[in-house]
Amino acid sequence: MKILIGIKRVVDYNVRIRVLPDGSGVDTDGVKMSVNPFDEIALEEALRIKEAGNADEVIVVSVGGDECQQQLRTGLAMGADRAIQIQTSESLQPLSLARAFLKIIEREDPGLVILGKQAIDDDNSQTGQMLAALWDRPQATFASGLVINGNAATVTREVDAGLETIEVDLPAVVTVDLRLNEPRFVKLPDIMKAKRKPLEVVPLSELGVTAEANIAVGKHVPPPQRGKGILVEDAAQLVEQLKNRGLL
C-alpha cells in the first residue's frame, strides 16, 4: 500500500505574526517557514504504519513554488520515500488544492491519504473533506488514533463531545489532530540521504487544474490591542467602574 501525505509550507508557529500595514496579508519577509505541524503529524503516522509493515511506500506532496522543496526535503529526511512538488507560483485555495491532489491520486493509486486537519496559516480545514468528496471515498477527520486492519482503518476522532471511533474502508482520506503522535527528530545522516531521494516536479498546468479563486479575501487586520488598565482604590470603585462600562 502507498500512503500519500500532503505537506504545506507555512510561517513557523514560533513566529510572531505581523499584518502588513496595507492589510494585504502578513509579513513573510525574512520570516522562518516550516512544515505545517499537523502535516508533520500526518507524515509521522504514515512512517509508523510503514514501519509496522502495513505500507510499502510513503510519498509526500506539496503545492507551491520551488521554495516548498525545502519542506519536502524535511519530509524525506524524516523518512518519506519520495516527493512530488506540484509547481505553481499561485496560492491555491482548498478546492483547487483538492483537485490537484486528486490528479496525483489518480496517478499513484494510494491506499491511504493522510493530511493535516488544517494548515496553521489560513486555518481552512477544507482540503481533506473536499478531496474525499471529489475522490468519492470515505473520510475520517480530526484523527487522534489510527489503526489499519487489512482493507479498513479504525479511526478515533476528536469531536466536540469527546472521542468518536469509526471504521472506514480503504482507500480513504484521514485528516489528523494534534494528539495523534509526536513527530520524530530528524537524524543528521538522514538529511544527507534525503538529498539523494527522488523529488519530482509536476507543473500545475500539466495536471489540467487551474488556480480558481472561490473565496475573495477582503482585508487582513491584526487583533485589537488591549487598552491600558486602571488601578482602583477599593471594591466600591471597582463596582462603579464596571457599572460605568455597562459590565455589571
Binding site: 513557523d12 514560533n14 513566529v15 510572531r16 505581523r18 519577509d29 525574512g30 520570516v31 522562518k32 509526536e182 513527530p183 520524530r184 527528530f185 530528524v186 537524524k187 543528521l188 545522516p189 538529511i191 544527507m192
Partner: protein, 537 residues
Amino acid sequence: MTEREVMEYDVIIVGAGPAGLSCAIRLKQLKPELMVAVIEKSAEIGAHILSGAVIEPGPLDELLPGWRENPPPTCIPVDRDEIWLLSQQGRRRLPTPPQQKNHGNFIVSLGAMCAWMAPQAEALEVDIFPGYAASEIRFTGNGEVGGVIIGDMGVDLEGNAKDTFMQGIEIHAPITILSEGCRGHLSKQLIKKFELDKDSDPQTYGIGMKELWQVKPGKSKPGLVQHTTRWPLDSKTYGGSFIYHLEKDRIAIGFVTGLDYEDPEFVPFEAFQQMKHHPMVRDLLEGGEILSSGARAIVEGGYQSLPKTEMPGALLVGDSAGTLNVPKIKGTHQAMRCGMLAAEHIAETSSWQGFDAKLRDSAVVKELHKVRNIRPAFYKGFWRGFLRAAIETVTAGKLPTTLKVHADHSALKKLDEYTAPDRHWVKRDLPPRDRLAAVYFAATEHDEDQPVHLRILEPDVCTTRCVVEYDNPCTRFCPAHVYEMVAADGIEENGANRLQINAANCVHCKTCDIKDPYQIIQWVTPEGGSGPNYQTM
C-alpha cells in the same frame, strides 16, 4: 545505549555565523574536494545571530566578489555618522573619531546576512546542519580534538529518554573549527583544557541588547548611523547605544554595557530601556511598534586577551577567539577575515599547526594591536578614558605601553563595598514593559521537558554566600529573566529563598556564564533547535 553513529568530514565547523560561513566558503573555493560541514544550534541559519550591525565590506568583496549585485536583504550604505554625549535631558554632539567613520560601510541585519551566505556555501557543496547542537568535543585516542558530538534529543527534565529520544551522532574530522561566537561553550572548555589563555590577559566582555522597531513614517532616515554615550550610565560604567536607521520605516536600536561594571544592583536591561526614554531617542520611537528584541554578549578584550588560537586538531576563529574591534564597534569584518585566514591556512597546509602565528601576523591582529589601549583606558572613568583614547588614536597605538585587561566577574563589588550613584532614571512607558515582555519579542522556544541547560555547579553558594555578598546579581544581569529567587516551599516565614531557573526564557547571550562573581554558572547547549528565533536581527 548503543554506539553512536558516525559521520566523517575533512573539516567540521561549529557555528554558522560570519566566521564559520566565511571559513566554509573559502575552504570550498580553494579546495573543492574537501568535505566540509557546518553545525548550527539554531533552528534556522541566522536565528541566533544578533548584531548592530554596521559592517566593513572589505572581506565580503574578497570572499564573494559580485556580492554588491546580489546583496543581502537588509543592506543600506551608511550616509552619515553622529555621536552624541547624553545627559538625562540634554545632548551634545561629539566629533566622530576616525575608527567610527563609516563612509563606505553598510548597515545590515547580520542574521539576514548569514541566512544569505548559507545557500552560497551550500552551492559550493558545504553541508550545513541547522537545528543540531555540538554539545561535546570528541577527543581522539591521543588527546587531540577529533570532531564533535551532537547532543541527544528527546531527553526529559530528569535526563531520561522520551519516546522521541534520538541519540546524537559523532562527527569525526581531523580539523575542527570553533566559530561559536562570543563565549562559546566548547571553546571555553578547550581554552581551559589546552591552557590557551596562559600567556594572555583574561577575556573581558560586554552585554549588547537590541530591538528592531517599526517607527512612524518619516522618523527613520535610511543610512543614518547614530551612537550615544554616557547617560543613563555613570562615569565608571563603560557603554553606549547604537541607533541605525533602516529602510521601510525601521530602526535598529541597541545598548551595550561593559560587563566589568561594579554595581551589584545594576540591571543592564533597565539601562537600555532608560536610554530609549531620552528625548532624542523617544522622539524616534514614540508611536512606533517593537518588532523584535534580543541580547548577546560581546567579546571586548581584543589584543591583550586573545588566547592562542590553535590546539591539536582545532582552531578558534572570530568571536570564539576574540577578534572584535571595540573602538570600531565592529566584529564582523574581523570574524570573516579570521575565518577566511583559517581556510587559507588549512587549504595550504592541511594542518591546524601554524595558524596562530599566521593570525598574529595578519591584518586581523594588527588592527587589534593599534587600538589595544582604548577599551582598558576607560577603567579609570569616562573622561580619563576619553583622553587616553584620543592620544592612542592620534599615535595609532604606537606608544610602547600596553594596558592590562581585567576579568569581568571579579570587577563586581560586594554590597557593602559599593554605594550606587544617583542615576536620575526616569519613569518609562515605551514597550517592552519588562524583561519577560522583551523575551516575547525574541520568540525564544525551549521544550520545558529537557535538562536545564544552565548548570549551577555549587547551588548552595546562591542561598548562603551570594545572597548576602551580592544579592544574587544573576536575577538582574540576565536580560531574559532566567534567574529568580523565590520563596522555598514551606519555609517562607524564614525568608529563605531558593534559586529558580526559567531556562526556557534563555536567549543564549552567555552573560550569566561570564558575570557570575563565583563563576559557578555553566551555560551548556540545550536541545538542538531551541533558543531564540530572531528575524532580521
